[in-house]
Amino acid sequence: MKHLLSTADLSRADAIRILDTAAQMAATQSREIKKLPTLRGRTVVNLFFEDSTRTRISFETAAKRLSADVINFSAKGSSVSKGESLKDTALTLQAMGADAVVIRHQASGAPHTLAHAGWVDSAVVNAGDGMHQHPTQALLDAFTMRRHLVARGAAGAGGTRVAGDPTGQDLAGLKVAVVGDVLHSRVARSNVHLLHTLGAHVTLVAPPTLVPVGVETWPCDVSYHLDEVLAETAPDAVMMLRVQRERMSGSGAGGGAFFPNPLEYTRNYGLDGRRLALLPDHTIVMHPGPMNRGLEISAEAADSPRAVIVEQVANGVAVRMAVLYLLLAGEASTERAGLE
């Protein structure tokens, strides 16, 4: 593994390896001294062309906990605002000797271009590109699900699992409902592929206007009715997606041309106390953040003990430490040449 660009490229073994490594990283984060010397002398550049708080801080924390040097680069206040191209920015980073570039870009495919155009030798980690992929978010979601649902020997999964240590296990048999603005969501795209690879069954729930064209080729089911899905499939995890109003044009009334008004969206697709009560007792509630409280998720659901939203953020650091470790710690020349 030289780059992490898309969850569609990850094999089951790779994904489990990342989750297992993340579990060991998470264990070190409960110590008094959280810093490890593993990536001492390596340089990680956070290249953010799009606003982000938690992803950038999470990557920065992960790199610093592994003793790497971190350079933060955001498009605002950089030469990009003067019109510098991605290529020239990349060549600058190459000249500075970056070992890994963590990139978030508004254009789908920008990380792929950076990884394959030959501008940089460094490992490239996709931290979200346009409406394409956000692989570390999907990995941290899978890690959170495995921790909560696999370790306890999930109900409805055949009951053959050993309760306790989920190391080495996938998510076979788990049912996950991904609800909301699937059209604009790179989180949903990443999760569909990763969860499918790990053996979970994904059901997307969205209004017809927010379901992307071509969804029938994705390895998942699609439904337009949240209540039906919650009652009939009894999902083990419900992942609410943020309604990305900044990507909806003409959003005068709240939803642009995608839904009549926010109240109607909430009534049909929002997770509230009533819908929470429909779910099995072990079901966890997830949200990639930032939340629109009162739109896709009510305060009651977001603050309920079944919500693991804050834990997702903590797990994000461990998963990103694992990704940086697996990309950067090994032998530079052969490892990268062999798998590229």
Binding site: R17, D20, T21, Q24, M25, A27, T28, R31, I33, K35, L36, P37, T38, L66, Y325, L326, A329, G330, E331, A332, T334, E335
Partner: protein, 217 residues
């Protein structure tokens, strides 16, 4: 050139010169058991009891060795529970050769419930060679606590130290050449991988393979 060993067949079939496989068994199951029993007594003698002692095994094969030592300590010292004094310490993230090998899988670190602060930590590993693993272990220990003392137990000391590190307890001193490979086989770690054949504990010496694909310690 010559086919077969140049010695009578009544000799043990494990002479180092044997070109067919070139594997010599240095310690067998019984010798390993006796060495561990002796080390356990030495630990108790040196530390005037075992109630402050914590045994930390270094993965992979240090872990079952530490567990076996803990059982012996429990049988020597009344009132001692083996599970309370044994743990495992993964040193992967502290190694100085990470960039010279393909990415290593990170093992688990488990400490006994009592922690290691103020205790005597005995590191347990199978083969002591360059000393670099122990150097990494010392760094790992300083990140998780402050023991009163750190001691080192190794089943085999094969020499060729590259750092000023010495063992406190040794199962067997084994003078080797750098072209040789010392491997330890334990029922706990190597039993399942075998294809049906019963596996017994052993310490083996073989010639280092000349193919560069073979991983080296």
């Amino acid at each position: 050139m010559s086919s077969g060993p140049a010695v009578p067949s009544s000799e043990p079939p494990v002479t180092p010169e044997d070109p067919s496989d070139g594997v010599t068994t240095v310690l067998g199951e019984a010798e390993i058991a006796r060495a561990l029993t002796r080390i356990a007594h030495e630990v108790v003698e040196r530390n005037k009891g075992a109630h402050d002692v914590v045994l930390l095994g270094i993965p992979t094969r240090g872990v079952p060795l530490a567990a076996r030592l803990a059982e012996r300590l429990a049988s020597i010292e009344p009132g001692l529970v083996a599970a309370d004094v044994v743990g495992e310490l993964d040193v992967t993230m502290y190694r100085d050769d990470l960039h010279k090998h393909p990415v290593r899988t990170i093992g688990a670190t488990h400490l006994p419930a009592s922690g290691i602060d103020g205790k005597v930590v005995v590191l347990v590993d199978d083969v002591l060679f360059s000393g670099r693993t122990i150097r990494a272990a010392l760094d790992a220990i300083s990140d998780i606590g402050r023991p009163r003392a750190v001691q080192l137990a190794a089943l085999v000391d094969r020499g060729h130290r590259e750092l000023p590190i010495r063992p406190d307890y040794v199962g067997k001193n084994l003078p080797t050449s750098l072209s040789e490979r010392v491997s330890v086989r334990l029922v706990e770690t190597d039993g399942a991988a075998s294809s049906g054949e019963p596996v017994t504990d052993a310490v083996l010496i073989s010639q280092r393979p000349t193919t560069p694909s073979e991983a080296t310690r």
